[in-house]
């Protein structure tokens, strides 16, 4: 809407809700220099700023681990809850009932999600909680100094740990199987794609799983390791170039991209995600094709990135509950406590 656009003469760095990028920053990171997680925090800041999201309309969630510290490093004006190891999904599920106008951004890690939190991860998928669920995936436990995580590839060698004897968990595959309505993978070394996927995920209504390979520069960045910068750069296999188009400004796209290679996904809030196919015919709304693509990538040792699956037609958890329009946490006592007459009715219902 025109009235939310920056006024003529306003500083160029102010977005549609009158905020500068600084208004989206957090405290300085205490993670290692060069950590992929910092780059992801920066892309969250950029994406939220560019989308003109009010920080007060976002709740940040996390579990425990390096990744889970990062909500402190972006969007200081948002509420946040750094909860328990592997338990972010349940905290978010309950908290997002308070005021359903709010959107959750959750940051988890591979240990937090694929090991200790696997159960809650799967269930938050099937409930379609209105949450961007980011997994900063580095295959290693950082805060406890470098143990294998459940996403570490079989045969990975780590100092002190020796060789990983187990098969890895594929987070995107788990998300898909659990009926997640938005599944994407990216690589922290590809910030533009990370940002566009974040925007698409934020515009999605319901759960959006974003598995971001985020190398650990301290414990797991050997050139041959799946979760390293070098390996990621060499093996990344993007499905498409992705662009997020904000609501009501779907103008210039067709000029930029060629017909036939383009897939548009209309998001619930009126925005559009444009996918320029690199692989011919890939359709991210086709769950069968998505499963196939993930399986194929695994067989061929590709780091498949992009929007793997999206379904914009499923109601979110709070939609299912048919709640009143007023946020639940602003209801008055009179709306919550039944009338005095109801006590007689209740007693009559007893024997």
């Amino acid at each position: 809407m025109t009235e939310t656009l920056p006024m003529a003469g306003a500083p160029a760095n102010v977005n549609a809700v009158g905020l500068t990028k600084n208004d989206y920053r957090g405290f300085p990171s205490t993670l290692c220099q060069g950590c992929g997680h910092n780059s992801i925090s920066n892309q969250i800041i950029a994406a939220m700023y560019e989308m003109s999201v009010l920080p007060e309309s976002v709740i940040k969630f996390s579990g425990i681990g390096c990744s889970s510290k990062s909500p402190t490093y972006f969007m200081n004006r948002s509420f946040g809850f750094n909860s328990l190891h592997g338990r972010m999904p349940s905290i978010a599920t309950g908290a997002l009932f308070g005021d359903t106008r709010m959107k959750g951004i959750g940051v988890s890690g591979d240990g937090d999600t694929a090991s200790i939190g696997m159960g809650q991860f799967k269930h938050v998928m099937r409930r379609n909680v209105n949450l961007v669920y980011i997994i900063e995936n580095n295959g290693v436990y950082g805060l406890t100094k470098g143990q294998f995580s459940a996403t570490a590839e079989k045969g990975l060698q780590l100092k002190k740990q020796g060789e990983n004897p187990y098969m890895p968990v594929d987070i995107c595959m788990e998300g898909l199987i659990s009926n997640a309505t938005f599944v994407a993978r990216s690589f922290a070394g590809n910030p533009k794609q990370v940002k566009e996927l974040l925007k698409a995920a934020f515009a999605h209504k319901g759960i959006a799983v974003l598995d971001i390979i985020s190398p650990c520069v301290t414990f797991n960045n050997q050139e041959n390791a799946y979760h390293s910068y070098a390996w990621g750069k060499d093996h990344e296999e993007p499905l498409h170039e992705i662009s997020y188009i904000a609501p009501r400004s779907e103008i210039m796209l067709e000029q930029e991209m060629m017909e036939g290679e383009i897939r548009e996904v209309d998001m619930h809030d009126g925005s559009t995600v444009i996918l320029k196919n690199l692989e011919k015919g890939y359709d991210p709304t086709n769950r069968y094709q998505a499963l196939h693509a993930l399986e194929e990538a695994q067989q061929n040792n590709w780091l498949l990135t992009g929007l793997i699956y999206v379904n914009t037609h499923k109601p979110s958890l709070t939609d299912i509950y048919n709640l009143v329009d007023t946020p639940l946490n602003r209801l008055t006592d009179a709306e919550l406590r039944p009338d005095r007459a109801m006590i007689d009715k209740v007693n009559e219902l007893m024997f």
């Binding site: 007060e56 905290i91 599920t93 308070g98 946490n329 006592d333 007893m350 024997f351």
Partner: protein, 630 residues
């Protein structure tokens, strides 16, 4: 033959899953409707179908309705427990049995009544063959009704209630009741002394179970969010929310002011509840011991991050899976110190079905006022059995939402507020609620070390300051938790401290101790932890304090030891647990075993011996409980 009117116990032995609970509840309700004080306890196995199950009913004109460890009337329907059921009848009692059970009956000291249940049901053409077992249960209701003078009109009222006024099942079942009664009138001769006579002692009372009462109480407390995971004996609490919320919080627009989520496990159940409590909702979960074990980590987080939630623990026996369908007060110390690190919990202890209702709404006020988890410890006996109760009363005070800052408050403070600052000196800070649109209204919640402004810190002094404040908050809690109930007796020489569902057993034991042993007692029923000043006074006043509870180790006594070390020698533990609802017998015997006479005056030994003779089983039990309660 002497008549014994309105003072006896009935036990029905059936098979689990055979539909007998409808019949047994019908007997209970019919007696209640006759105005006679009555209680019913379902002693059931952890099983869906086939294992033996018992239902005991206590009828007592004086209102002593704790479970009795004897059965004056036994109804045996289950061949598998037939021999045991037969042996359990008190001498001079009555034994009703289904006559298709062909097992020897060698007792001659009791009245024996065979009942042709199968042939009576078969002869009714209106009963479809697959309903015969269910309806057959109603035949024993009818036979019993005829033999103890239970009013058939009140039986009909009970059935009408049970089948929610649906005429077809009411008629089918009531016809079986009448057929049983008519058959008994024509074929059985009364040979036992037990009889009912209508009274007016239940007028104005209702019958309900504690889980239903807790759910209804929570709804009158304005519950907005519940997450739960199925577990015996707590499931029916959450299910009752689903039953009653649509009725009591119905709106014209058909929309909901609440959400009930069945979680994937108890970790998630409390996790969701903490999330909802944090975002400003009146949030609750309900579980039992094994579930509470799983909730421990979130309980610690809620305590440290100061998130208001209500957790109902409908206790069953542990450790581990324990006896899933048996009652207990075994989760007390676990709950009192739940979680790693230093913590202490605010605990409410309802003592009857009415208090399940009352604490249902009060618990939210207390949790939000104190910004801490409030645990409500009910138990299987209260939670799942039908109790007589005074009618539920509308909350007498407005809702207390505690210290919350919305946008205008933050604006007035010019943003100068801190989530964990103790502004008022009561150790309770102010909180804001997600959704607040003030740019300075938000804060970051964490289970890690934090300062007054909720910022991460590992600073030792800040840590100590925060933990000391939390300890002071527990002192503040004393102003808000329910005070104990004190029942004083003139000339009392001992004190009894107890809590929860043992009250009926204690009142009866007190009466017996007074009449048969000359021991007068004051009784204080604790209703909360932390202990209030009334508890201090009670302990200061009594030299001998018997702490009665249903667990092995005397858990309340352990807590009393640490809270009142200067009076430690005054406490005498009467702790016993076998999974069955409290009975006056073990309370009385437990007290006698540890009673020290004042000034050399002994309890009336003669009467004790006489009593022991009359009930031979009692003597063994004296030894047993004495051994257990050292």
């Amino acid at each position: 033959m002497n008549k014994i009117v309105n003072d006896f116990s009935i036990t029905v032995g059936t098979k689990n899953g055979s539909g007998s609970s409808t019949a047994n509840n019908t007997i209970l309700r019919a007696i209640f409707k006759m105005g006679i004080p009555v209680s019913g306890k379902n002693l059931f196995p952890s099983n869906i179908q086939g294992l033996p199950t018992w239902y005991t009913i206590r009828v007592n004109r004086d209102g002593f309705i704790a479970r009795q460890e004897k059965s004056d009337i036994v109804i045996a329907i289950n061949p598998d427990s037939f021999a045991k059921d037969l042996a359990s009848v008190t001498p001079g009692g009555a034994f009703f049995y289904a006559d298709d059970i062909k097992q020897p009956i060698e007792r001659v000291d009791i009245a024996i009544y065979p009942m042709p249940i199968k042939s009576i049901v078969k002869n009714d053409p209106n009963v479809p063959s697959d309903f015969r077992e269910l309806v057959g249960n109603m035949v024993y209701v009818g036979v019993l009704a005829q033999m103890i003078a239970m009013d058939l009109e009140t039986v009909k009222a009970a059935l009408t209630f049970h089948f929610k006024g649906k005429q077809k099942p009411i008629d089918m079942n009531f016809n079986a009741v009448r057929a049983g009664a008519e058959w008994a009138a024509a074929n059985l001769e009364k040979k036992d002394p037990y009889q009912l006579e209508a009274m007016d002692k239940t007028e104005g009372l209702i019958m309900a179970d504690g889980n239903t009462a807790a759910a209804i109480g929570s709804i009158f407390g304005g519950i907005q969010f519940a997450a739960w995971y199925p577990i015996t004996p707590a499931s029916s609490l959450a299910e009752s929310l689903n039953d009653f919320l649509p009725i009591l919080r119905k709106r014209d627009d058909g929309k909901h002011t609440y959400a009930v989520v069945q979680a994937e496990d108890e970790l998630a159940a409390l996790g969701m509840t903490v999330g909802a409590g944090w975002s400003g909702l009146r949030a609750m979960t309900s579980t039992s011991g094994p579930g509470l074990s799983l909730m421990t980590e979130f309980a610690g987080l809620a305590y440290y991050a100061e998130v208001p939630v209500v957790v109902w623990d409908v206790q069953r026996i542990g450790p581990s899976t324990g006896l899933p369908t048996r009652t207990s007060q075994g989760d007390l110390t676990f709950t009192a110190f739940i979680g790693h690190g230093d913590s202490h919990s605010v605990i409410l202890l309802p003592g009857d079905v009415y208090e399940c209702f009352e604490f249902g709404w009060k618990s939210f006020d207390i949790a939000e006022r104190l910004q801490t988890p409030v645990f409500v410890l009910s138990d299987l006996d209260m939670g799942m059995n039908q109790w007589m109760s005074k009618p539920f009363q509308y909350p007498d005070i407005p809702m207390d939402r505690g210290k919350i800052l919305w946008e205008k408050d933050v604006e007035e403070l010019k943003g100068n507020w801190g989530r964990y600052r103790d502004v008022d000196g009561d150790a309770i800070p102010y909180r804001t609620i997600p959704g607040s649109t003030h740019p300075l209204g938000s804060y970051f919640t964490r289970g890690t070390g934090h300062d007054e402004n909720a910022r991460y810190t590992e600073d030792s002094e800040t840590y100590v300051r925060n933990m000391e404040r939390l300890a002071r908050k527990q002192q503040t809690a004393k102003q808000y938790v329910p005070a104990p109930i004190l029942r004083e007796t003139k000339g009392a020489t001992i004190g009894i401290l107890a809590y929860g569902s043992t009250e009926n057993a204690i009142l009866e034991a007190q009466d017996k101790l007074d009449r048969e042993h000359g021991i007068k007692s004051d009784f204080m029923r604790l209703r909360a932890i932390p202990f209030t000043k009334e508890v201090d006074a009670f302990i200061e006043k009594h030299d001998q304090i018997f702490v009665v509870e249903m667990n092995r180790d005397g858990q309340m006594q352990q807590i009393l030891y640490t809270e009142y070390p200067q009076f430690a020698t005054r406490f005498r533990s009467v702790a016993y647990q076998d999974g069955l609802p409290a009975a006056a017998k073990w309370v009385r015997e437990g007290i006698l075993a540890k009673y020290e006479s004042v000034g050399g005056k002994k309890p009336n030994a003669k009467k004790t011996v006489a009593k022991a003779k009359a009930a031979p089983a009692g003597k063994a039990a004296v030894k047993k409980s004495a051994g257990r309660t050292k």
